[in-house]
Symmetry: C2
Subunit: 333 residues, 2 copies
């Protein structure tokens, strides 16, 4: 196995560039085959990586970017116009083959637009999909699309299902992934026209297709791959995230003045640690943008170093296992 080159958008996300650089250094320390490029404000980025050991630092290079794309910019316009932005430069390196993959914690729409406009779609793919690995009660579930393609035709859902199947099988190592469409009930009469049409297409495909699953089936891990459009996927993901943070905030509030409850928590520390280890989303790393000609990964906007490390681990694994070619073989030609 040769070296693996991944470029990071060092300016994307709430904690850029410091935490992005820190995550990059950590990953270089762990994976000796990793060569990283940091695209961003050269002075700031160099200051971040300065303190690192030379054995790590000499596998990191910096590409200066004079612009950044903000979180609220109109994505396609920003990618087209800001040719010197850290995100655009990172995507260009994937297109030219200088890097095999790219990670950004920046503007999601801009990552998708960059993937389509700069890196380019795979043949046979109409629209790309962002997939996320959700820890569930049984085993991780791969949910896509979570925001690349807002609404889509049945053909796109069909392609998402097949890409998800490849990802689950080849990258996550699930034997015969159970693939399902997300709907408002499990019976055949459920779903809207688009989903029903995708169901028909998938019934004839050579994969372990399970029909429809409902919202709670995601939680119980009743399918390995769950497919929906990006509108639905985005709402679900944010709702789930909101519930997690909400639960934490409410428990803290209720705990407030209750000394006994605080004592109770002390007894529960081993359990809380175990729960955290099981559901810590950071270990699941970034979310791949599937259907484009490179290993493009989005990290959460709030990512700190461990999440960037996680995204780099996932992207490296995707590259080692030839993720793009796997999808091309399944759907491309």
């Amino acid at each position: 196995m040769g070296k693996i080159t991944i470029v990071l958008d060092a300016m994307g996300g709430d904690n850029a560039p410091h935490e992005i650089c820190k995550g990059a250094l950590d990953a270089c320390g762990t994976y000796e085959d990793l060569e990283l490029v940091l695209a961003g404000d050269e002075e700031k980025v160099r200051a971040c990586i300065e303190p690192a050991a030379s054995g790590v630092r000499n596998r990191i290079s910096v590409v200066h970017a004079s612009e950044t794309i903000a979180m609220d910019e109109q994505p396609a316009n920003a990618v087209r116009r800001k040719r010197n932005s850290s995100l655009r430069l990172a995507m260009e390196m994937v297109r030219s083959g200088e890097a095999q993959g790219c990670i950004s914690a920046g503007n999601t729409g801009a990552i998708v637009a960059g993937g389509v406009l700069v890196v380019g779609r795979l043949k046979g793919i109409d629209r790309p999909a962002l997939g996320v690995t959700l820890p569930t009660i049984e085993r991780p579930t791969f949910l896509l699309d979570v925001g690349a393609t807002v609404r889509c035709r049945a053909e796109s859902l069909y392609q998402f299902a097949r890409m998800g199947n490849v990802y689950s099988k080849k990258i996550m190592g699930i034997g015969q992934p159970a693939v399902a469409l997300l709907a408002n009930g499990t019976e055949e009469i459920k779903g809207d026209e688009t989903v029903a049409e995708a169901r028909e297409l998938l019934s004839e495909a050579s994969l372990n297709f399970k029909g429809y699953v409902e919202g709670d089936d995601i939680v119980w891990g009743r399918a390995d791959v769950v497919v929906c459009d990006g509108f639905m996927g985005n709402v679900i993901l944010k709702f789930g995230e909101g519930l997690m943070y909400g639960a934490r905030s409410i428990i803290r509030e209720e705990m407030g003045n209750r000394l006994l409850s605080k004592v109770g928590v002390l007894f529960m520390i081993p359990m809380i640690k175990s729960l955290w280890a099981r559901f810590n989303y950071e270990k699941y790393g970034g979310t791949p943008l599937l259907g484009v000609r490179g290993a493009i990964f989005k990290a959460h906007g709030r990512s700190k170093a461990p999440a960037i490390f996680g995204a780099l681990s996932t992207a490296r694994n995707f590259i080692i296992k030839g993720g793009v070619d796997q999808i091309r073989e399944e759907l491309g030609e």
Copy 2:
């Protein structure tokens, strides 16, 4: 205030008829203006209400239904064909005016079909909506549609928003309810075509319209009324429910052999009780089917007596406040 007559589908739901009847008796004991009709298998229903005190029992009558509609039956067909089903008979009583409202914990699709085909839509309403009151961190949020109308045009979303506004203001007593559309981001460029069109329609309506909210905004209670199509609403509701049950199951599993954690829980009982009181969905009762000519409420399929009691309280409140007429005034003619 005169008497209020509500008919219950005594055969609908997982715990019918026993828990339905028990909830009915409890409600009659609490509300002296309540007269209830139980539609169902007469022998079974009578056996359930036999033990009650006569002061309660003499405000309960029984209508014999020789058929029931199963949870997995095709809704519209079942309602059309099973003329002697408990649900159909209950709906007929609302249509004829013998009852002002109806509650069922049965097949959701059949309740919606019964509302439309038997009870009838209000003028000016294209499609009905099921609304649910969600406990959130700030204050309850009213989410609609959660499953009556799978996909809908912008006009329907617009009507849902206006019905939700009336419900929040007149029934829940919120001053100037903040009304929002659920989307994949808060910026104006988000949403699909339908949602964007509904946004335009609502911008010109005379209500406190806040534009788009995201999935996590539901949790934080950032709007009093959140509007989406029934496909999305159904998936979200079930996903949220799944997460709650999932969390409980995981905590139990992790607690399993940990004696210390179990001791910890003892210290936390007052907190857990307070949390439960705050988020116990049973006190929020049934979900109204808005847009039809009667107070039609759906109770959860798993409802036990307290949930039926809650649904009866909510339906009674809706009737006392003239819910149907309020919506008619706002949207009718």
